[in-house]
């Protein structure tokens, strides 16, 4: 059995506490996320000394931490304007698969090993029929990473084909053809819906783990709750901690391209360019 370093366990317990806290803050605003079984399991696994996380190739690695949240569903209280067709009820389903090496935490390095955040929006119309919308944020896994020796070329069915389209390392893609694979899409006649499903552009986006992902979704779909949470000091502290871990290296790496170290906040970035930045 793999023994996990006590420092790693201490780190994992801190992250479990952070997830619990996140749920406390959203619960306070009436958004209940900790009843989802995979959310509870995520916290349990992080604290479990016998639980070892697997890397993207399925290998056990005692330095990794992460979680898998499956279809965490929350009802959106106010259907956003411009929603078409008219729906009686709208809910959001959040799924996330995330792993990272604890040693990379708050370093000037890529903060994750694996990150897939899937967001599915489910509308119920008056006649009880369903309509769907979705987007996802992915970390693009380069099949031939720079630092690893190139695998011997073998023809296997699992071998990934390097896509020709631009794949920013972290990108958001809206309403792609992926929607056809959703369980809820099974009963829908998507082919004759008048929509064209295809790979939409992969928009470069900063990474979002569960904490920052929930904050991002609250800011878009639960503006009242988000407004209240912006006044909640410990919630802000929690987000700030994850922004330092995930956004600081990302933005710094991009800014380094021009090597600009002057004019701090010259454009009021915190309030104007990026309202989520704390």
């Amino acid at each position: 059995m793999i023994r996990i370093d006590p420092r790693v366990m201490a780190f994992r317990r801190d992250r479990a506490n952070d997830l619990e806290q996140l749920a406390t803050f959203t619960n306070k605003r009436g958004i209940i996320i900790n009843q989802n079984p995979s959310f509870k399991e995520a916290i349990r696994s992080l604290r479990d000394e016998n639980y070892v996380f697997r890397d993207e190739s399925g290998e056990l690695n005692s330095f990794l931490w992460g979680y898998t949240i499956d279809r965490l569903s929350v009802v959106i209280p106010n259907v956003p304007r411009h929603t078409f067709p008219v729906v009686q009820q709208l809910s959001i389903n959040i799924s996330i698969k995330f792993t990272a090496n604890w040693q990379d935490w708050q370093k000037m390095l890529d903060p994750s090993r694996q990150l897939n955040l899937d967001v599915l929006l489910l509308g119920k119309k008056k006649d009880a029929s369903t309509c769907l919308s979705s987007f996802h944020l992915d970390k693009h896994l380069d099949p031939t990473p720079l630092h690893a020796p190139k695998a011997k070329a073998t023809v296997s069915q699992t071998e990934k084909v390097v896509p020709a389209e631009a794949h920013p390392l972290y990108h958001i893609q809206f309403g792609s053809a992926k929607i056809r694979k959703e369980k809820e899409a099974g009963s829908l006649d998507l082919a004759n819906s008048g929509n064209l499903f295809m790979d939409t552009p992969r928009l470069m986006h900063h990474p979002l783990d569960l904490v920052l992902g929930v904050d991002f979704l609250l800011s878009n779909y639960f503006p009242d709750a988000w407004d209240a949470l912006k006044r909640d000091g410990p919630y802000i502290s929690l987000c700030r901690k994850y922004q330092a871990a995930f956004w600081k290296p990302y933005i710094h790496a991009i800014a380094r391209h021009w090597d600009l170290h002057r004019d701090r906040d010259c454009w009021n970035a915190k309030n104007v360019i990026w309202p989520n930045l704390l």
Binding site: R231, G233, P234, S237
Partner: protein, 367 residues
């Protein structure tokens, strides 16, 4: 007219009469000592509609000292309090609800602490030894309790009246226990929820040390009383028990701060909060609080209960106690106070079970 408390004790007047005298304040509070009777005659005295007092002060162990006839009373304060609390719901008895306060010797209070099922019976408790050092504070609480009971009774179940605040602005779950009840709740039920649910734990109502922490300022600086009373005075809690349990409404504090400084408090660190306040209020004597030793963050939101000094909860350790409800917050202790064991020696509160391992993991770095 002075508020009247009846004080029942099994100890003779020579020994405890001084407690009643120390707590009494001319024209404001009269505490009358009487030796405890046997259960039936005692109850008969207390459950008449006009029994002549506004509140009851009980010694915890009424059953220890023999009376003049050599016999001991056969019950404790919890038995008596439980009987009275239930009797209030007996409409035929028609008795008025009143505050019941517990006092005991420090050495015996452990028995009360252990018996958790009795904790909801009393509105307030204090050790007898404390009367010597803080009689004024205790007396003021006794008076506030009676006035609070009057406010609650007059409010007839309307929380906005009891709190002197528009409850539509608060989380409805705070009051859910009281909605759709088949029998109206007794005054003591409202009193308990108000004291133990809203005034004692941190929630939308905050105490002075937390108000100062959130504003980023030290309470010892000259500008503090003016900032508290003149600038944030409108956020002061005016509802039941508010004369003694001084609290501020966080949503009002937010509103005042944002209208002055144009940004939420939580978006600024302590130095930025104070700079903004000084600029907008002209109170140049205000001083930003420095972190407790071993802490670094100045994004204060709570306090270390041991030092009563500001901390960022992210750097604090949660204390155990009844688990906060959705609308309440944890109490914290700083690392420094924890290393000095102040949670045990001063606060008499263990660390929250989820924090024990975290503390153990870093403890040796400081040995």
């Amino acid at each position: 007219m002075a508020v009247k408390y009846l004080y029942l004790d099994d100890d003779p007047e020579q020994r405890v009469g001084q407690i009643a005298r120390s707590l009494s304040i001319e024209g404001k509070l009269e505490v009358t000592y009487r030796p405890v009777s046997f259960f039936k005659p005692q109850i008969e005295q207390l459950i008449v509609p006009d029994w002549g007092f506004d509140g009851l002060l009980l010694d915890l162990r009424l059953d220890q000292e023999p009376r003049a006839d050599g016999q001991k009373a056969e019950y404790t304060a919890t038995t008596l309090a439980q009987f009275l609390r239930t009797k209030v719901y007996d409409q035929e008895a028609g008795i008025r609800d009143f505050p019941i306060v517990l006092c005991s010797q420090q050495s015996k209070i452990g028995m009360y602490e252990a018996d958790m099922s009795s904790h909801d019976l009393f509105d307030y408790k204090f050790p007898k030894e404390d009367v010597e050092v803080r009689a004024k504070e205790i007396s003021s609480n006794l008076v506030a309790l009676v006035e609070g009971y009057q406010t609650i009774t007059a409010a007839q179940g309307n929380w906005s009246t009891m709190l002197a605040y528009d409850t539509a602005q608060l989380d409805a779950r705070i009051f859910s226990r009281f909605t759709n009840r088949s029998t109206p709740a007794a005054t003591h039920e409202y009193a308990r929820h108000l004291l133990k649910g809203l005034l004692i734990p941190t929630n939308e109502l905050i105490k002075e040390a937390i108000l100062a922490a959130r504003l980023g300022v030290t309470t010892t600086a000259d500008g503090w009383p003016r900032l508290r009373d003149e600038v944030f005075g409108a956020a002061r809690y005016q509802g039941a028990f508010g004369q003694s349990w001084e609290r501020w409404w966080q949503p009002e504090v937010n509103r005042i701060f944002e209208s002055l400084c144009g940004t939420p408090i939580a978006s600024l660190d302590a130095a930025e909060r104070v700079t903004a306040l000084v600029e907008r209020t002209g109170l140049t004597e205000l001083v930003a609080a420095t972190p407790i030793e071993l802490n670094h963050s100045t994004w204060y939101w709570n306090i270390c209960e041991a030092y009563q000094a500001p901390l960022d909860p992210a750097e604090g350790f949660r204390l155990a106690g009844s688990e906060p409800t959705v609308w309440q917050e944890y109490d914290y202790i700083s690392l420094k106070a924890l290393l000095e064991q102040l949670h045990t020696t001063e606060l008499h509160r263990p660390l929250h079970p989820d924090e024990v391992l975290r503390f153990e993991a870093i403890r040796e770095n400081y040995s």
